[in-house]
């Protein structure tokens, strides 16, 4: 069975799309690993794992829209998620110094880009 899911560690996305969220506890790297594992099981990416010009090592939040399914490996999806991981973690940063308002801004931008993806596909 196929279903579109948003792999995310962003609470704002979880709140906006509660029925479509695949929640990942952890940082951006953990989200990418979860997506990569799903791709190995046959999932296909619907959105690019790197969203916008916000660098993956700068934002504590990431959402990736995925068509979850079991089946043959989609090599294009694998290349994109592996590419995203390759440019993301060097070294994996800590965002402990971000205050609540900075975190909210990063959540908002990730949410808005996800909305933009879903809206464009609804047309």
């Amino acid at each position: 069975m196929e279903c579109a899911r948003i792999f995310t560690n962003n609470p704002a996305v979880g709140a906006a799309y509660p029925d479509a969220t695949h929640w990942v506890e952890g940082n951006v790297r953990d989200v990418f690993v979860a997506v990569r594992d799903a791709v190995h099981r046959g999932a296909r990416l619907l959105s690019h794992p790197l969203c916008g010009s916000v660098k993956p090592w700068e934002s504590p939040y990431r959402s990736v829209w995925v068509l979850a399914r079991q089946g043959a490996l989609d090599f294009a999806s694998l290349r994109l998620i592996e590419g995203a991981m390759a440019v993301s973690g060097r070294p994996w940063p800590h965002h402990a110094h971000y205050d609540a308002s900075i975190r909210e801004d990063y959540q908002l931008i990730d949410l808005e880009l996800m909305k933009s993806a879903i809206k464009n596909s609804d047309k």
Binding site: L45, L46, S47, H48, L50, C51, G52, S53, V54, K55, P56, E58, W65, A76, R79, L80, G83, A84, A86, V87, R90, P93, A96, H97, Y98, D99, S101, I102, E104, D105, Y106, L108, I109, E112, L113, M114, K115, S116, A117, N120, S121
Partner: protein
């Protein structure tokens, strides 16, 4: 389509009683400029500052840079779809205050980047340390959300630039350049023995704070289309892109796109420059597939032998760049790619998120992860506290003495992928 661009060289800027150009100096009525810039009920206050090359001044966070221009002859006005109607532009005569720039500063998100240093080591990385800058610090009314804040500051910058541009209407240009592109079949026939070259102009269009507009339309919503290159010189493309200071294209750089400038310089000599295809960089893979299919179709339809493709941004758009390259090459059309790199602070890491063996002619505008220390400046215009959390920095980037140590991605235009900067990178 033929456009004459009259360049009025601005060597100095001064506040004074009236707004006019006299002997290479742009005199500005500060109150009038602030009033016109702030003519929006969503703006609480506007304050204008002047920043000249060589001064000990830092501007941050920079939202956009806009060049003052004015339409002297021909249809339409500068920034169609925003400041003028939607008439086709790119024809007739336009005057430019060359050397002057409107710089808008506004803290839209908490993690804002975008630094211009007017002197010191940071100044060497931004083209806007060499311009006479009219800096506008724009404060919106309370409670405005990020989307609207971006719109408010963007439009305020255009109002300011057009107000100053009017001062160039009556001035006599120091030099006049003429650019002409004929309708396609005539253009092909004009130089039948030269290779036909098109330009694929990729625009950042992913959503909040990542927007670019063509005649007022959000480019995210378009399928790729053909553009006369002269249209950009009248502001047909404007930036609503606030993220990734080093490799976004401010409105100023769109209007002065050096790829188009250089293609015109070779037009009729070594190449036949056919025109531009503008395309987007969207979030979903289906959008990316559709737009790259359309782009490849259009350059084939134009009969191009070769194309230059420029990217805007990093990461996600690398996929668009690779798709455009693969699909255009598959049609037997040669490609040259322009990008920048995030190769790690030591330059040794994978520098793009995607790649293709067909991308064998690639120009890079530098490594955005390169680290630089920018000493303190006497004056900081804008919001100096954002340096604490600046994207491209880290905890401790702002030292107690006011110096900033960060990656050059925080500097406006440092690795601009239209080649407006001075950097490149080479394989060792």
């Amino acid at each position: 389509m033929k456009l004459e661009v009259g360049e009025i060289i601005i060597k100095d800027i001064q506040f004074g009683p009236g707004t006019e150009v006299k002997n290479g100096t742009l005199h500005i009525n500060k109150q009038e400029l602030e009033k016109i810039t702030g003519a929006d009920e969503r703006i609480q206050s506007v304050e204008a500052f002047l920043a000249r090359p060589g001064e000990s001044v830092r501007i941050l966070p920079v939202k956009d840079v806009v060049q003052p221009r004015v339409k002297v002859e021909g249809k339409g006005g500068i920034f169609p779809g925003f400041m003028a109607g939607v008439e086709q532009v790119g024809e007739g005569r336009t005057h430019v205050l060359k050397g002057a720039a409107v710089v808008t500063t506004g803290k839209i998100m908490g993690f804002q980047e975008g630094i211009i240093d007017m002197s010191g080591p940071g100044a060497q990385y931004t083209p806007f340390s060499q311009t006479q800058n009219i800096v506008l610090k724009i404060e919106p009314v309370e409670g405005i959300k990020q989307h609207e804040h971006e719109v408010v500051v963007r439009l305020a910058g255009f109002r300011a630039a057009n107000y100053l541009g009017e001062a160039g209407k009556a001035a006599t240009p120091d030099n006049v350049k003429t650019y002409e592109t004929l309708p396609l079949l005539q253009q092909v026939a004009q130089y039948p023995n030269l290779p036909k070259v098109a330009y694929v102009y990729m625009l950042q269009t992913q959503g909040l704070l990542h927007n670019t507009f063509y005649y007022g339309v959000d480019v995210r919503q378009i399928v790729p289309t053909i553009m006369y290159p002269t249209e950009i010189m009248d502001g047909a493309i404007v930036s609503g892109n606030c993220v990734s200071a080093c490799d976004k294209n401010p409105t100023y750089i769109h209007a002065n796109n050096p790829v188009i400038e250089d293609l015109y310089a070779e037009h009729g000599k070594t190449i036949n420059f056919l025109g531009c295809v503008i395309t987007n960089e969207n979030v979903t893979l289906a959008d990316k597939e559709r737009s790259s299919n359309m782009t490849a179709k259009l350059v084939e339809f134009m009969g191009a032998d070769a194309v230059i493709i420029s990217e805007e941004g990093f990461g996600n758009p690398d996929a668009d760049l690779v798709m455009n390259c693969n699909k255009i090459e598959a049609k037997g059309i040669k490609t040259v790619l322009i990008t920048d790199e995030y190769a790690g602070q030591d330059g040794a890491s994978q520098s793009l998120a995607d790649s293709t063996p067909l991308g064998d002619a690639c120009v890079t505008a530098g490594n955005a992860n390169e680290v630089l220390t920018m000493p303190p400046m006497d004056t900081v215009i804008g919001y100096p506290e954002v340096a604490h959390v600046i994207a491209g920095g880290w905890e401790g980037s702002l030292a107690a003495d006011g110096s900033i140590t960060a990656e050059i991605q925080v500097i406006i235009g440092a690795t601009n992928e239209l080649g407006f900067g001075k950097l490149t990178a080479k394989a060792m």
